[in-house]
């Protein structure tokens, strides 16, 4: 098992996380994924990369530098995305019960290992 796959499995093991994946940031395509339940992995990759790209431009305009963690919270779940270098994003989707603090740490750890 590659380092990336191992990292994705660790993220998926966090309570409430429905799946995790590695995404090509410029293309919005799946690079690698782990146990995505009931969600179209291609949709996650495309939408997370698009949102991350727009937020990168907005954060730059606000003088905040590059985003390090992005967290989109909805009524029934959360999307987490962490850039891993210039080209990749580590992304996870969780339900309402997700331990977001732990998931965030695992994503950051995965991104450090991959970048």
């Amino acid at each position: 098992m590659s380092g990336a796959e191992h990292a994705l499995r660790r993220i998926s093991a966090v309570r409430g996380v429905r799946g995790a994946m590695l995404v090509s940031a410029p293309d919005g395509l799946v690079v690698s994924e782990s146990s995505m339940e009931d969600v179209d992995g291609r949709a996650i990759a495309a939408l997370a990369a698009s949102l991350a790209g727009r937020l990168r431009r907005a954060a730059g305009g606000a003088g905040l530098g590059r985003p390090t963690v992005i967290q989109l919270r909805g009524e029934t779940g959360t999307l987490l995305a962490v850039p891993a270098g210039e080209e990749l994003l580590v992304v996870a989707v969780g339900d309402r019960e997700t331990n977001l603090g732990l998931a965030r740490l695992e994503l950051l750890e995965a991104a450090r290992g991959i970048a």
């Binding site: 995404v23 090509s24 410029p26 293309d27 919005g28 395509l29 291609r42 949709a43 990759a45 495309a46 939408l47 990369a49 698009s50 790209g53």
Partner: protein
Amino acid sequence: MRVLEGWVSGPLSRFLDESAARLVLLMTSSGQVVAQHGFTRSVDVMSAAALGAGIMASTGELAHLMGSPRFGALVHQGTEQGLLLSGFDTPRGRWIGLVAFGPESSVGIVQLFFQQFTDEIAAATPPEEQRGPVLAENFEHELNASLRALFGR
């Protein structure tokens, strides 16, 4: 955006809105144009339709020779612009979509919403009217009528 048949407008508008595509050409597998967005000259549309249909036909043959199923889509990613060329089935036969997109979009976004678009097209396609065979003398007239409809002149 110009369409030959009104029912294509809704799905195509939604696709353009969601994908931020720059150019779209929708055609039958024989290269007959069904709708276009972003092209300004009819000659460009005709060339792109012929090339797109030709590429899909030749890659289909290539897949056949290699003993694999036909390719669903081809993607070219350039530095300034990307292209998606994708075939899909409709109640009126196989159609082809040619989509050009810039850095404001991405391959992933275009593919995601193109899939949604093709689903909507398949669901919205009305029953085809019975048509007689296309005669050579009618062909040019039909082509010109199509181009007039697509460019409004």
